[in-house]
């Protein structure tokens, strides 16, 4: 709330840093009251109650196409990068300890390596929190974010392996153990992902069958998501990987299967949970610091750790990117690499892991905890605050912002659309054979298995959408007509409608009865075309814009363009945000554009070969016939749901009004069907 009140503050300091500050204050208060820290971030609470929601949210809202097309690079960074970081930090610290830079502490190589492995992992929570303010381009964001999610597989394995090694003691380690460690990595990583995918399948199948209990569909998503996390944890596999893949794989199918309202519910609740957890995590991170029992200060250790993780991250990223760029279609630029290295934030996961260490085996546990906390604060606060200025600074200096001319504005937008069209024509970036194969497999088998038949059908036919749009249009025409006493189609609420009524009421009443009587002769022009012809003249007549002032005209034109130009598919739009859910303004635009295009194409079909047109029309006519029967049923069930909550008097009232409404609906649909057949007839001419 404090954060929302001064939005300008959060644009400078990321929310996470502010939350940590609040945590410090709270911790101070609690400590002052109790003389000991009663609240700390215990690993159990963190790993079982706070982390899963955040990760499920990340998986569910993951832009799949982007993720999978960059999967190779992400895996390289996650696996090799994390191993590199862990090894170098561990070995570096060990070397410095041998050199005596840290004074006298009871620690060994293995413990250093363990510490390196837990501090090396980039943290998804911190990455989301910081990158949300900084709008970097999609590819860069998905790299860092994907890496932070997938590196859990490596971290868990390394942590467990080194923990086991430390328990064994240094003498027992031989090649067999190392090989076991490597195998366990594959088992943990792939096992975890497999568990996630299985649960994703379960969820999709479940949503396929829940047509009658739509109200609890959202609940299932969360329960099963959490279950996947717990199952993987139970099997000692990577739980984060499991829940991530669960979210990634099921999003498409559940969005298709579930009712609109359930989808919305899931989205919002997911965000609420994730936001809440994130807040709590950061506050607790702050509180946990105010505990003198935990603090052990060792200048060398701490400073060297900070230095190493920073430096080795940079080296690691640049090295890997250099190798990757040889194989990538779209190479990662230098600036992107800098931001990627700088964005390697450590966070609560590292703290959770370090708090899980056994004090008896690790004499210097407190030192490690302190160091981890300092590292977390350093990365989240310092790097978080400086991230945005850095990103702005590194970009090429923009030219002075002059007002674009109209021509430039239009042209810019045209270019956007052009690029999008060319990309579509030439196939997407990174289009390849495997993706096609997967797509075909998915279309044939998975969609058949996992999606409801109705959901599947509505995906298949574009003309289905087209006819839905037409239906909506026709319905609104009819509604307007009923309201005004004739089918006077108007767009603007000005005095012109009156003229329109007077002018055309007569001709309409001529035409309408004819159509109603189903008397189709070649002379009857379909209503829709009449209406379309009329509109422009009406608008021209009634608009009395004051065109005298040149400046206002200028301003109007610019303003109009700004407001109404269709937006192209922006290539660098930051899609992932914790607090702002995208409202689907795009969909209206898309529908409008689609409607237009299809209309103009149908016009051209009229003059083209006859073979094409009737086939399409017939197909859609059949589907159209289904729709009118479906709709009244849908509406009646809606009305009947309201029923149990009224008493008898209102019941009968509802019934009669329902009856009237149904009759009216039926009449409308008959009209629409006849309209359609009229259009068909003309088309066939």
């Amino acid at each position: 709330m404090v954060v929302e009140l001064n939005h300008s503050l959060t644009s400078v300091i990321p929310e996470s840093a502010l939350l940590i500050l609040i945590g410090w204050i709270l911790g101070g208060i609690i400590y002052g009251a109790d003389k000991m820290q009663t609240f700390t971030l215990t690993p159990t609470v963190f790993f079982f109650y706070l982390l899963p929601q955040v990760i499920l949210d990340a998986g569910y809202f993951m832009p799949n196409k982007l993720f999978f097309s960059n999967m190779g690079a992400i895996l390289v960074y996650a696996v090799i990068g994390t191993c590199w970081n862990a090894a170098t930090v561990g070995l570096g610290l060990w070397g410095c300890w041998l050199g005596g830079a840290m004074g006298d502490i009871d620690i060994g190589l293995l413990q250093f390596l363990l510490f390196g492995s837990l501090i090396a992992a980039v943290d998804p929570v911190a990455v989301i929190a910081v990158f949300e303010e900084v709008h970097v381009n999609e590819v860069l964001f998905i790299m860092v974010f994907g890496e932070s999610l997938l590196n859990d597989g490596v971290t868990v394995v390394l942590f467990n392996v080194f923990d086991a090694f430390v328990s064994l003691g240094g003498a027992e380690i031989d090649a067999v153990e190392i090989i076991k460690g490597i195998i366990s990595f594959f088992v943990v990583a792939f096992g975890g992902s497999l568990v996630g995918i299985i649960f994703a399948l379960l969820i999709s199948l479940l949503t396929r069958c829940t047509k009658n209990i739509q109200i609890i569909e959202p609940g299932f998503i969360f329960i099963l998501g959490y279950l996947s996390y717990l199952t993987a944890e139970m099997l000692s596999l990577s739980a984060i990987l499991s829940i991530v893949f669960c979210g990634i794989c099921c999003q498409k199918y559940i969005n298709a299967n579930m009712d609109e309202r359930s989808v919305t519910t899931v989205r919002y609740v997911m965000k609420v949970f994730a936001n809440g957890s994130e807040t709590i995590i950061f506050v607790f991170l702050g509180i946990s610091a105010i505990d003198p029992a935990v603090w052990v200060w060792n200048t060398g250790f701490i400073l060297l750790t900070l230095l190493f993780i920073f430096v080795f991250r940079f080296i690691g990223v640049f090295l890997l990117t250099w190798i990757l760029n040889k194989y990538r279609l779209v190479p990662l630029e230098f600036i992107d690499q800098v931001v990627m290295s700088y964005g390697g934030l450590r966070g609560a996961v590292a703290y959770g892991l370090v708090a899980m260490l056994d004090e008896n085996k690790f004499k210097e546990k407190n030192l490690m905890v302190s160091t981890t906390l300092i590292v977390v604060y350093f990365t989240v606060m310092l790097q978080g605050i400086t991230m945005k200025p850095l990103v702005t600074w590194l970009k090429v200096k923009r030219a002075a912002v002059t007002e674009l001319t109209l021509a430039e504005k239009i042209q810019n937008r045209t270019f956007d659309h052009m690029l999008v069209a060319i990309e579509d024509i030439s196939g997407q970036i990174g289009h390849n054979y495997m993706r096609d194969k997967w797509h075909n497999f998915e279309e044939r088998w998975l969609c058949w298995f996992l999606m409801k038949p109705s959901a599947r059908k509505s995906r298949d036919y574009i003309f289905n959408i087209f006819h839905q749009l037409n239906l909506k249009d026709a319905m609104s025409y009819v509604k307007e007509g009923e309201r005004r006493g004739s089918l006077a189609f108007v767009r603007n609420e000005t005095k012109a409608d009156v003229d329109f009524n007077k002018k055309f009421r007569a001709s309409f009443s001529e035409i309408m009865p004819d159509i109603m009587a189903d008397n189709m002769g070649p002379d009857h022009v379909p209503l829709s075309s009449i209406l379309q012809d009329i509109v422009p003249s009406v608008c021209l007549v009634m608009h009395e814009q004051d065109l005298t002032m040149r400046e206002s005209e200028d301003f109007n034109a610019h303003h109009l363009l700004q407001q109404h130009l269709y937006r192209g598919r922006k290539q660098h739009r930051h899609r992932y945000s914790r607090s702002h859910l995208e409202t689907n303004r795009d969909e209206n635009e898309v529908q409008e554009i689609f409607q237009r295009t299809m209309r103009s194409r149908l016009e051209s079909f009229k003059s083209a070969k006859m073979g094409v047109a009737p086939a399409k029309k017939i197909q859609t006519k059949h589907q159209k016939k289904d729709k009118p029967q479906k709709m009244p049923n849908g509406n009646s069930s809606d009305k009947s749901k309201n029923h149990p909550y009224g008493d008898k008097g209102t019941c009968s009232l509802l019934f009669t009004s329902l009856l009237h409404y149904m009759k009216w609906l039926n009449a409308c649909f008959e009209l629409i069907i006849t309209l359609e057949s009229a259009v068909d007839f003309v088309v066939r001419l």
Partner: protein, 203 residues
């Protein structure tokens, strides 16, 4: 007539019409790199569902996303030369080559013909999108058509016309109530065309 091109040792059979000769196919390699040709050819084949070796407007129409693009139909039209009903692979690649990022490393050789992806060629391509009747000028009506397709339906005719008028006023220097190619180019001199009209994967 089929030509077998060996790309990285993999024979790739590419149907080429009689009008093309080997020299032309070499030209292909200059404007797009070999790896991209393979990819584009795959795409061409995927679009050409009836395997005739030519694309027709309906094949482009099958791309779903283009229906949701306000100037999608115009772009499709740009692929077809005036009077032609089909586009073969060579023209397909040639049009797409317009969108290659300009080659900054090699200095311009005045004796060579203007490369396809230079700024001028790109502007010409954009100009042709507007100028449907190919008379070398964008008339008011043509501009209106484009505006109409790119603006939401809430904009009225009056407003559209006023925008079109003002646009022409801004750009028109010789007062002939139409925008010629030179005027078009001048009005866009501040815009970084190379950045706006390039697709990275065609590098």
């Amino acid at each position: 007539m089929h030509i077998v091109i060996k790309l990285f040792g993999v024979p790739l059979s590419c149907p080429i019409t009689n009008s093309m000769n080997i020299w032309f196919s070499c030209f292909l390699f200059i404007i797009v790199t070999p790896a991209h040709i393979v990819r584009l050819y795959d795409r061409f084949e995927a679009l050409d569902k009836e395997k005739t070796g030519h694309l027709r407007p309906q094949d482009f129409g099958a791309i779903n996303r283009l229906a949701m693009n306000p100037i999608g139909d115009r772009i499709i039209g740009a692929f077809f030369s005036p009077g032609q009903e089909t586009v073969d692979f060579h023209s397909f690649v040639r049009i797409l080559a317009h969108f290659r990022p300009a080659d900054k490393k090699h200095p311009k050789d005045p004796s060579m013909p203007e490369p396809v992806n230079s700024r001028t060629s790109k502007l010409k391509f954009a100009f042709q999108l507007y100028d449907q009747d190919k008379d070398g000028k964008i008339s008011r009506a043509e501009l209106l058509q484009v505006l109409r397709s790119m603006l939401e339906m809430q904009v009225t005719e009056e407003q559209l016309e006023s925008i079109a008028d003002r646009t022409i006023q801004e750009a028109d220097l010789d007062n002939d109530d139409a925008i010629s190619f030179e005027e078009f180019r001048k009005s866009l001199e501040k815009v970084n065309i190379d950045h706006k009209m390039s697709i990275r994967f065609l590098r």
